[in-house]
């Protein structure tokens, strides 16, 4: 086995050479992850806001379920989506198994509870502050949810980031429903798992470093946005 420094040097070489395969893997990873996070936010933001802003029977039960689903095991989600999309499954006719769409579906299922549960907490805290003013002004249910989502927009960026972190680092579900097919469904995490098992540590390490860099960039951008918002007292 090569020394760590040699592997590191080759990994850096791969990154700096803009290897076409590496770029393709990164692009697909981002496409799958960002699509899943976008769909999860579209579902999770309003869902979390409604649970946070309204009182209804069994609400506590709904919150317990939402919080519990934050810890959904990825392999179990992968298995369930596999069963749904496989030829014998109810959605088999769609022919989505081993496609990026299947990976997006699996990641959406994993990320939505995280987005919804964290949104619920953010919105509930804000609503506790606003509730009497809203009642006094006569704010209707739809306006209430929209206003809370808008006023919590910067906090919700952090929620989306939490979802992004979960999705981009996820391997168990996407490898089951995507199959890790070269040039089709191979993303960073599945490639790292595969190449490590093959002993091709240079590519695995290169992708690992890129994955970490993406996480740092996304975090840095959000921190900058939140910092600007905080200075304007919008957080």
């Amino acid at each position: 086995m090569e020394s760590f420094s040699a592997i590191l040097a080759e990994a850096l070489g791969l990154i700096l050479s803009w290897d076409a395969d590496v770029i393709e893997i990164i692009v697909l990873s981002l496409r799958v992850t960002l699509s899943a996070v976008a769909v999860a936010c579209m579902i999770g933001f309003p869902l979390g806001a409604m649970v946070g802003a309204f009182r209804f029977p069994l609400r506590t039960g709904v919150i317990v379920v939402m919080n519990t689903m934050m810890g959904l095991p990825p392999v179990v989600v992968g298995l369930l989506v596999y069963l749904m999309l496989s030829a014998a499954g109810p959605l088999g006719v769609l022919g989505l198994l081993y496609s990026p769409t299947a990976m997006i579906i699996a990641q959406t299922i994993l990320v939505t509870p995280i987005v919804a549960a964290l949104t619920r907490q953010v919105i509930e805290d804000l609503y506790n502050e606003y509730s009497e003013q809203f009642t006094s002004l006569g704010v209707g249910p739809l306006d209430r949810v929209l206003a809370l989502l808008w006023d919590a927009r910067y906090s919700l960026l952090t929620v989306a980031l939490a979802g992004f972190g979960r999705a981009v680092a996820e391997v168990g579900a996407v490898i089951i429903v995507g199959g890790n097919i070269n040039h089709v469904t191979r993303v960073m995490t599945t490639t790292i798992a595969l190449e490590t098992s093959k002993g091709n540590l240079q590519l695995a390490l290169a992708l690992g470093m890129i994955l970490l860099t993406i996480a740092v960039i996304v975090n840095g951008l959000l921190m900058a946005i939140r910092g600007t918002a905080a200075r304007a007292a919008y957080v």
Partner: protein
Amino acid sequence: MSEVVVNISERKRAPLARARTTSTAPLMTARGLCFDAGGQRLIDGIDLDIHPGRCTVIMGANGSGKSLLLRLLHGLLTPTKGEVNWQGHPLDPAARQQQAMVFQRPVMLRRSVAANLRFALSVRGVRGAERKRREGETTALARLDALKDKPARVLSGGEQQRLAMARALICAPRMLFLDEPTASLDPASTQAIEHMIEDARASGTTILVVTHDAGQARRLGDDLIFLHDGQVAETGPAAQVLDNPQSQAAQAWLGGRLFVPTTP
């Protein structure tokens, strides 16, 4: 609905054009109002009539139930017993659309000053040119023109309270509930808020204000309700109650003494 916005240059200062005419039909009534929490009766059988166009001051020691009464009358809390009527009918959300409330600690939406005002109008369905007109008039009235694009939450305490007043008045309410609107404000900010209250009242808005400030009660109030332990200890014209209180509780409080009723 009465028009609340008054050009600041037309303001009539004290003694102000106080309409001392007490209409026979009260705008709001409370009968046998009770509110319990934590096994305690916090509001205990309050009856009152609020007549249109008047400014009624609620005073009393801390914990006497002033803010609670305001919330019950505005419909933010549901009474344990008794009823609140608005123009002879039970208070409902539609009636609350004709009212507005300003809280002791102003609730500022995480938006600009102008957006805070626009929000109040948009939930009442006021849009387009009318919204723009009211926004302009109200920012001028509250002297917030220069601040309208600033985030509301970076304003000073006095500016925030002026914005809260403006947001309440922009909807042209028939009745305005004020829960210690000048608590912890400096004299200049207090004066600005009192001017806004006087303007609103001069435009016909009925005011119900909670305060600890006897001077403010004298400056603003037509009528005064003195609460003690969730009950009305004394009520009457503000000057009369302040100059010649009849109840032990009001006498003690206005005299700066503690009043602890003897247990029978």
